[in-house]
């Protein structure tokens, strides 16, 4: 699967009500480390069946960023059954993202 762009309109269906766990990548176009993270996220989306990976542009989706207290990007948030279960900030290696996603 590829990375799904999520806005406040489809956030509930794609993230909160997802059957699988969801890794949300909060990012922005002007953020260098976010752009570096994107190819890694794309790769993981292709490789992993146990997780849905979504991208949230914080410039367009400031309500979502605020709701989830995102004030540092890149920010990866793992949602399980509609609840945040893990979070990481900054550019991190692929292995660490795999650890966050888990089995």
């Amino acid at each position: 699967m590829s990375v799904i762009e999520v806005t406040k309109d489809n956030f509930e269906t794609e993230v909160l009500k997802s059957d699988k766990k969801v890794l949300a990548d909060f990012n922005a176009d002007w953020c260098g480390p976010c752009k570096m993270l994107r190819p890694i996220i794309d790769e993981l989306a292709e490789e992993k069946d146990n997780v849905k990976i979504v991208s949230i542009n914080i410039d367009n989706e400031d309500e979502l960023a605020e709701k989830y207290n995102v004030s540092s990007i890149p920010c990866l948030v793992l949602f399980e059954n509609g609840e945040e279960s893990r979070r990481s900030i900054g550019l991190i290696p692929k292995e660490e993202i795999e650890n966050i996603i888990g089995e």
Partner: protein
Amino acid sequence: MYDIIIVGAGPAGLTAAIYARRAQKSVLVLEAKSYGGQIINTLDIENYPVEEHISGFDFATKLYKQTKALGAEIVFEKVVDINDLGNTKEVVTTKNKYSCKAVIIATGSEDRKLGLSNEDELVGKGISYCATCDGAFYKGKTVAVVGGGNTALEDALYLSDIASKVYLIHRRDEFRAEETTVEQLKKKENVEFIYNSTVTKLNASERLESIEVTNKDGSVRTIEVNGLFVAVGRIPENQNFAKLIELDNAGYVKAGEDCKTTCKGIFTAGDNRIKEVRQLVTATGDGAVAATNAVKYINNL
């Protein structure tokens, strides 16, 4: 067996790969995170020859493509150890082991932290090490920048256009930064300079709420801030290699302009080496020298 393994795909490592490939050597670059190194954190580079303006991301991406096009292999694995087996070196990553004839260590540096007890917990909750990434979250808010070098001053300048108020906290009364930046910053009305002071405490409940600032004279002041941007320099990450090559007290690799370390066949390049000026031009310059000397070393084996 590779001819040369390069540790780190920052400007120094990728330039070394270009020179090594053009000398017909097989090259593997091992990178822990993503290509580009520190420079991806900057929006605008204005002091690299030829390009008047280029973003850190574009710089990194162009350099990466150039390196790939020349046939260097780039693998995303973190190097944890190097073993010297004489004419062969073994490079150990978190996943694999690779053999080669020469190694170039180009691991750059990482953000230095303030070293305060709750600093790590507050990253993303008011503490940031990247103004260009996180500045936008502080529109109309109060922030502080701590540091006195180019990065701190550029951060303060950038934030002064977004935040309503910017405190710049510096432990001395003089800056180690380009004069033009200092002048620009002094013209900003919403920037307040706090000299001879350090941040000694971070007060937070859910998020950072205020900072305690202690002056050299012993006086203490509490300042309410929504965000604190830390720009107190960088530290090299060479500890994994300390058993093989000599480092100075600050952890920089002991190597001169020839980029040769104290271990035969192991070279170094970029910000992690002892040097005066840590910039792109000096990092890429090192990359060229290290690769050229590694090639010479291999040809004489």
